[in-house]
């Protein structure tokens, strides 16, 4: 365990450093965008005097470096600050959106992971038969289509023609659990179609790799059924690479679903981020990007821990 603990601590420290770098980069990028928050708020009705008044009011006249460190200081004290535009505390703004994004990612994960691993195992067992080829072609086609194409396709079939699901997923605080599932099923299916191929192919490849090893042959000779050989003997050793891919995809589902959110009008973090960048609301952009970066770091960490724990050689290193 000691090795694992040491690794976790190291990774967390590295993660914090990464977050620092990410926040600085995001801040610089938003500064370089043309126009600023004041111009965005007032839009076409901006005149030089109202712009100056607004900038003063929003505290934009202090130099960028100073603003960045002010903000950093606030974060270290647990205060994410306020939205530059609406003056509302960011924590309340993000909390609901983050909750929505996580619930969508969770639903998509619950559908896609068993599906992908199952299909991967099936494809590995029946490799080079038509079952294997069909699964491969199907999932690779799904991942090759652009997200919005898949999204619109699903909307056309399930929403417009069949009318089973709504085409917009407006999830607000007052929906029941069942309603939430009903509203978010189409976006979750879209995400599933996009991430399945990667996980399926990795599962298939790892298992095929392992099925060629002597100990598997031994298990077969002992009379173990096909299912037992795969699930009990081969799969545990295949976990490391599979978990890595799953972690990567889950992190993607949290951070990369802007298009799906826009098409389904789903009130998640992605849409908030696009909105805030367009409005140059720096503090919200910062907070959202930090969350995305953290998601990647955390999930990668979890994947690494699972890989080590599942591999006795790494776990009990001398």
């Amino acid at each position: 365990m000691h090795a694992v603990l040491k690794m976790v601590v190291q990774r967390v420290a590295l993660g914090v450093l990464t977050l620092l770098v990410v926040s600085a980069l995001v801040f610089i990028s938003v500064e370089f965008l043309p126009g600023d928050v004041a111009e965005q708020i007032l839009g076409q009705s901006a005149t030089p005097e109202t712009l100056a008044a607004l900038r003063d009011q929003l505290g934009l006249n202090t130099p960028p470096v100073e603003r960045y460190f002010d903000w950093l200081g606030g974060i270290l004290q647990g205060d994410f600050g306020q939205s530059v535009i609406s003056q509302r505390p960011i924590t309340e703004l993000l909390a609901q959106r983050l909750g929505n994004t996580l619930s969508l990612a969770l639903l998509a994960t619950l559908i896609s992971v068993p599906l992908a691993v199952g299909l991967g195992i099936l494809a590995a067992l029946k490799r080079n038969t038509w079952v294997d080829r069909t699964i491969n072609i199907g999932t690779l086609t799904a991942i090759s289509f652009p997200e919005y194409f898949v999204a619109y396709g699903l909307i056309l079939i399930f929403s417009v023609k069949l009318g089973w699901f709504p085409s917009i997923s407006i999830v607000s605080g007052t929906v029941t659990f069942a309603e939430r599932i009903h509203l978010t099923l189409l976006p979750a299916l879209t995400l599933t179609m996009i991430v399945t191929a990667h996980m399926m192919r990795m599962t298939r490849a790892s298992i095929i790799n392992l099925l060629a090893l002597p100990y598997v042959e031994m298990a077969r000779l002992k009379g173990a059924s096909q299912r037992r050989v795969v699930v009990v003997h081969a799969l545990p050793n295949a976990i490391a690479p599979i978990v890595n891919v799953i972690a990567l995809n889950i992190a993607y589902m949290i951070a990369g679903v802007v298009i799906v959110e826009v098409v389904f009008v789903y009130p998640g973090l992605g849409q908030l981020l696009v909105d805030s960048v367009a409005k140059r609301d720096v503090t919200v952009v910062q907070a959202a990007c930090l969350i995305f970066a953290s998601a990647f770091i955390i999930f990668n960490l979890v994947a690494d821990v699972i890989s080590i724990v599942s591999n006795p050689r790494l776990l009990h290193r001398k």
């Binding site: 111009e39 009705s45 908030l272």
Partner: protein, 521 residues
């Protein structure tokens, strides 16, 4: 002179004939088979999708800019004056107003009106609501609209006297602007901008950027308005998502329908596409203060080189009318229909180009897709139209992000767009007076400025008509902007929702007042 109701439309014979023809045409082509119920029915829910706004929107009128805020503003609150579906100015919270000299105005407030929290409407609320847009520190986008106001005082609890620094016969129109919602004033003098108002609907849940819910105000003072029991305003920025929502019945009406899917949308039995003539126009602005566009012959050449009808037919799919290089649309008062409509004439264009001293000229016209649907197509067409005359217009596509800060009014030739205004004075003062902040074409004409000032204070309708006519002529013949079309508002509505048959031309969704004007069919 007392004006309980000022008609904005022209009331001469030509106007009546044209209006009658339009109604007839609309009856033949526009209205669906269903006859509108004469009496609106109470009850039901209206779910509307608006297109502009974000999660950082608040209900503070000084920050109002997108349609989410404008629509909610008029759902929850009222102004002093209102532009009706017929385009005429109507009393709203001000039941009458008067002025002897167009400089000092007295507005008499309706009595017995209550805000949603039970507080009665008084002059103090009106004064505070208007004052938040004025003053040195105000960041309101409407500050310039009230720049000519010298003082606002109460005359008793139910009258407000507004004194201007100069004459302005259109002042009551200005108070109908979406910024000037009347909000209650708090005991400490600050204005309560949380959404409490005198309007037809009370705020239940405000989740800007996602969904806002309202319920009917049982105490609403306005007769024959606010028929739905509940309402929802959803923000959908993406036009395809909005269309999907309309088609699947998730929303009853959307703010704007895309041209390319209009034909398909219209074929659906439960959707009706509204097309309302309006004053929105796109412009191609030339910087007339510097070479080469400081030469009027070159400007005329550019104006003759564009086929306006082709742009209306191709880009707007017929949902618009041709314009004559000035911003006073046919639906605005004082529109001078006697000015000959400039037509596409490549020979005249070539002639003026030669007179300006060029055989051919290459120039770059900037445009952004975000200006209006089809903006880039319009410019591409213009390029094709202008080619034969020797004008080589190169299309420069600029990113929408930052267009207003980097391109608009910074480059010598660029595209612009303007929303409608109820009266000519507002658009002419905002964009064509030589001292205007937003004088796109850098237009400067002493006679024009003189007429603008004189017409603003002139109370005699005939004289005003003449002055505005002359101003339109000046802009058409010498102005720095090419204005090819006035666009109609095109938006889809579910046939389970009905309205009076006449839709406001100032904003989409019946002047952004659909919540109180429409009802369940």
């Amino acid at each position: 002179m007392t004006h309980p109701e000022t008609k904005a439309g022209s009331v001469n014979r030509r106007g009546v004939l044209l209006g009658g023809a339009a109604v007839g045409a609309a009856a033949l082509t526009g209205m669906p088979n269903k006859l509108y119920a004469a009496t609106p029915q109470k009850g039901g829910l209206l779910r509307v999708a608006v297109a502009q706004g974000g999660s950082s929107d608040t209900l503070d009128p000084t920050t109002f800019s997108g349609s989410q805020q404008i629509f909610l503003g008029w759902t929850l609150r009222n102004n002093l004056t209102e532009i009706g579906s017929d385009g005429a100015l109507k009393p709203e919270l001000a039941e009458s107003w008067s002025s002897d000299d167009a400089q000092t105005w007295v507005f008499n407030l309706r009595k017995g009106v209550e805000f949603h929290n039970g507080k009665s409407l008084t002059a103090d609320d009106v004064i505070a609501s208007l004052n938040m847009h004025r003053g040195e520190d105000s960041k309101s986008g409407a500050k310039s609209l009230l720049a000519s106001v010298e003082s606002i005082v109460s005359e008793g609890a139910h009258a407000v006297k507004i004194t201007l620094t100069g004459k302005n016969a259109d002042f009551p129109f200005i108070l109908s602007d979406y910024h000037f919602n009347i909000c209650p004033v708090n005991p400490d003098g600050s204005v309560d901008v949380s959404g409490t108002g005198t309007g037809g609907y009370i705020l239940e849940e405000f989740n800007p950027g996602v969904r806002t819910r309202v319920r009917r105000n049982p105490n609403y003072w306005k007769a024959n308005s606010a028929h739905f029991d509940e309402g929802e305003v959803i923000l959908i920025n993406d036009p395809t998502a909005a269309t999907n929502a309309l088609v699947t019945g998730a929303v009853h009406a959307i703010e704007s329908s895309e041209y390319k899917t209009l034909a398909l949308l219209g074929r659906r039995p439960n959707i009706h596409v509204e097309s309302v003539p309006g004053g929105f126009h796109g412009t191609f602005a030339m910087n007339s203060a510097a070479a080469p566009f400081n030469n009027n012959d070159l400007r005329l050449a550019m104006k003759y080189a564009i086929d306006r009808q082709a742009i209306v037919d191709t880009v707007l799919k017929g949902h618009g009318v041709v314009a004559n290089d000035h911003p006073v649309s046919p639906s605005m008062p004082y529109h001078d229909a006697s000015i000959e409509q400039r037509a596409y004439d490549p020979d005249k264009a070539k002639f003026h180009l030669k007179k300006a001293g060029h055989d051919s000229l290459t120039m770059q016209l900037s445009v952004s897709d975000g200006l209006y649907a089809g903006a880039t197509d319009a410019v591409t067409l213009y390029r094709e139209h202008a080619g034969p005359s020797g004008l080589d217009i190169q299309v420069v596509r600029e990113p929408g992000d930052g267009y207003w800060s980097d391109v608009w009014m910074k480059k010598p030739l660029f595209s612009g767009s303007w929303g409608p205004r109820p009266v000519p004075d507002m658009i002419l003062t905002t964009a064509y007076a030589s001292s205007a902040d937003w004088n796109e074409g850098a237009f400067s004409n002493a006679r024009f400025d003189e007429l603008l000032l004189a017409a603003r204070g002139e109370l005699d309708e005939a004289k005003r008509g003449e002055m505005y006519g002359e101003m339109q002529r000046i802009l058409s013949d010498e102005g720095g902007s090419i204005i090819p079309f006035f666009r109609s508002y095109v938006y889809g509505r579910n046939t389970s929702i009905a309205h009076s048959g006449q839709l406001g031309s100032d904003w989409p969704l019946d002047g952004h007042r659909a919540m109180e004007r429409w009802w369940t069919a």
